[in-house]
């Protein structure tokens, strides 16, 4: 039912856009423009060019509205246009940035091995060491978890991730696009997408854990 509602909302939204409703366009732009610029920047490494690509994307969206058949969601369509433009541009500028390249870290653990008993321990080898077990965040007051500082920290952590991880976590967890659609948008395999997502999320979790630890 919820999916159905979303579909209806999207049809209504598309109609308003086709009719040239400025308010609808403004809302859409407020929602996605910053992510588009951010994603474009991963390909072209230049703020002005990234901004230009995002603007070109909006124009292409408006010009393509009549041909948009709704086989993907509007959001996915918008991000697909952006990445296609960004890829073309980065190739033209000879900056071949390949999303499918997994760095060597792909096989390394996402949680520090020191936190587990070593593999030779007689009992509970590779289980959490008692003094390094993750704690529940339940007792931490909500105003601390939801403070601006927490979100700034998440933002900073994401900005420092390898670019392919940044792209995947932005699309999956911020824009909430499905994994399958992300594979199509970025042109990567599902396995690859999951590894990148896992590493990105694990890093953000670790940063939050270190930060919230101070609250105990």
């Amino acid at each position: 039912m919820k999916a159905m509602d979303a579909k209806l909302d999207e049809v209504a939204l598309l109609n308003l856009l086709r009719q040239g409703d400025e308010m609808t366009f403004t809302q859409l732009v407020e929602q996605h423009h910053a992510s588009l610029v951010r994603l474009a920047r991963l390909f072209v490494h230049d703020d002005a060019v990234a901004e230009e690509l995002a603007q070109e994307t909006w124009l292409a969206v408006l010009q393509g509205l009549d041909h948009f058949e709704g086989r993907s969601s509007l959001k996915t369509w918008i991000f697909t246009i952006l990445t296609n433009k960004a890829k073309t541009r980065s190739q033209r500028e000879n900056r071949s940035f390949v999303f499918s390249d997994l760095d060597n870290s792909a096989a390394t653990p996402t949680v520090n091995s020191d936190r587990f008993k070593d593999s030779f321990a007689e009992r509970w080898a590779n289980h959490w060491r008692a003094d390094a077990e993750p704690a529940s965040w339940e007792s931490i007051p909500e105003e601390i978890i939801l403070a601006d500082e927490t979100f700034n920290l998440i933002r900073q952590t994401i900005d420092q991730l390898p670019e392919n991880q940044q792209a995947v976590i932005t699309l999956r967890d911020i824009e909430e696009i499905s994994s399958q659609e992300i594979c199509n948008i970025l042109g990567i395999s599902e396995t690859n997408q999951r590894v990148l997502l896992h590493r990105a999320r694990a890093r953000v979790r670790q940063t939050l854990e270190d930060y919230l630890q101070l609250e105990f």
Binding site: G20, H33, N126
Partner: protein, 80 residues
């Protein structure tokens, strides 16, 4: 008897678990482990909260210049 999953193994499967892409037998092993392990239960819950918080991240709003550029682009398109 089949070997049980260790905590070290479990933490690397959390994303596949949450994305619903784990094979059924691995999923069962993981759930068996979780039912007896506070550390991993907390780890999984922290990961869920991390995803949820990341989803609440709001992008900075548009600068006046960006807004102006985009509205100009829009009205230009509308004029056809």
């Amino acid at each position: 008897m089949e070997e049980e999953m260790t905590c070290k193994e479990l933490v690397e499967l959390v994303t596949e678990y949450l994305e619903g892409t784990l094979p059924a037998d691995t999923r069962t092993k993981m759930e068996n482990h979780l039912s007896g392990c506070d550390g991993c239960t907390n780890y999984l819950e922290q990961m869920r909260q991390t995803i949820q918080l990341t989803g609440q991240l709001r992008e900075e709003s548009l600068t006046p210049q960006q807004r102006e550029d985009l509205l100009y682009l829009f009205s230009d398109w509308r004029k056809g």
